[in-house]
Symmetry: C2
Subunit: 292 residues, 2 copies
């Protein structure tokens, strides 16, 4: 099966799961439920959930068993988008052409919807991942990736960096926390669900870190060239001028070269998985179109 | 030992634990760490953590084993205060006489500090509560109490109710979610740590629900009489006029009567614990001063 067909299959299952996980009881006010579902169920590539299912599969597990962590990953990703879009943060009115959550539902509901999604992510894993030892390991992965030493730290550093030019090292430190860690924990959680060994978990980690950074470079390149990346979060807003990016720091060609090296590293790391790792390899390559 | 002495002992351990849990690595930007610690380590009664430790003790467990859940409870409570104080929410500049987090650190850092504390709460439980089955049960308790069918739902309903008078049933439905559920899960998590039976967990739940509501009534009464409550979140801001409270809906005397009945219910629920439940009983009574 082609990668794109396989991704489509996985996405169908993910969409269904996200929908189920946010039915919610009458204890959830209608407006809050609507706000949560507006952002969570909006069209998206579901990159992190797909990576979790594919990592589980690559380790010999049934990918559908990883659906709770896939759902949790998308909830955490979505909460971060809702909060990042707030007026006090990046102040965005549109996301993928649709009004952002706070534009549609108001700031207070948007803050609460984000808080609720973050909380629900941990509930879903704790409730539905078996055995408990695996659930707990996944929660440690996800919380440390998303928290004050991970994604939240990256957003803080990013906001602080907006007023000044960063070095390449600073830029990479921001991306590693802001997007890299959550992507990486999609891989390790998928591996944990398949109850794979520590060595393989470490290989998945290397794959995740490399792909995460390549993903960010491709994203930066897309802003400049408008052509390089086919996956991801769509065309960036244009008011990022003044912020450091890979192309602005090292140029377009060197950025492309770096992205290619990272993808090669990612594929090498999961080589021990053999044929089972083929979808992950294809996905890594898909992130950057080498011919451009 | 007197209740007050015992509370002081427990609080000392809780403060130490909160401090340790927020040391954080260099990956956490200084400003974010400072913001997290500013609110978490601010003076407070630590009601929820104390209830968790005392519930564990009342079930025959070593209270110090419940410190991870105690810490997590205070983190969740603190995150909710930081977010509730934001301009888009209750818009408070002061909390217990100190500048609120967003006044001190700015809105974006305050939002992120809240997000970070919520995330860290689940990490601490997943990492430090053993065995894994108990950790997972505690995380389900905490997440469902704090999330879109619990505390977050209560805050949403409360914000929606600000513009209109509520009935008593609506008021109680808000309080049950906004404060009651987190208080109740302090009790059940403490019980779970002591690996108590389902029947006792249910009794602790009844105690928590009753005390939670009594706590709120006492809080409302304090706004009116300025004298009734000795524990809790301190004197309320005065701009709550127009919002329904127990005294405004049923009068001061009937409010007091209800609080007394609830405390009696709470004490009756934990009667089967015998002498081990004495601190919990004393704490319930302490919430409302019956002589006033």
């Amino acid at each position: 099966m082609q990668l794109s067909e396989h991704l489509q299959e996985l996405r169908t299952r993910i969409e269904l799961r996200l929908c189920e996980d946010t039915q919610l009881t009458v204890d959830c006010p209608d407006r809050l439920r609507e706000s949560v579902r507006y952002s969570l169920l909006a069209a998206g590539k579901r990159v992190r959930p797909c990576l979790a299912l594919m990592a589980c599969e690559a380790c010999g597990g049934d990918p559908t068993v990883a659906l709770p962590v896939a759902s949790a990953l998308e909830m955490v990703h979505t909460y971060s988008l809702i909060h990042d879009d707030l007026p006090a943060m990046d102040d965005d009115d549109l996301r993928r052409g649709q009004p952002t959550n706070h534009i549609k539902f108001g700031e207070s509901t948007a803050i609460l919807a984000g808080d609720g999604l973050l909380t629900l992510a941990f509930e879903v894993i704790a409730r539905d991942v078996k055995p408990a030892e695996v659930a707990v390991a996944c929660i440690v992965d996800l919380a440390s990736a998303a928290g004050v030493e991970g994604m939240v730290a990256g957003q803080q550093a990013d906001l602080q960096a907006e007023t000044e030019q960063s070095t390449l090292a600073e830029l990479e430190a921001i991306h590693r926390r802001k997007t890299g860690r959550l992507l990486t924990c999609a891989l390790t959680m998928g591996g944990r669900i398949a109850q794979t060994d520590l060595n393989t978990l470490n290989n998945l980690k290397i794959y995740g870190e490399s792909v995460g950074l390549a993903f960010q470079i491709a994203d930066d390149l897309l802003d400049v060239t408008g052509e390089t990346m086919k996956m991801g979060k769509g065309v960036q807003k244009d008011d990022d001028h003044g912020k450091s990016t890979y192309p602005s720091l090292i140029g377009i060609d060197e950025s492309r070269r770096r992205a290619r090296i990272l993808i090669d590293q990612a594929c090498a790391a999961i080589a021990p998985l053999g044929e089972r790792g083929n979808y992950l390899k294809a996905l890594a390559t898909y992130i950057i179109e080498r011919d451009h």
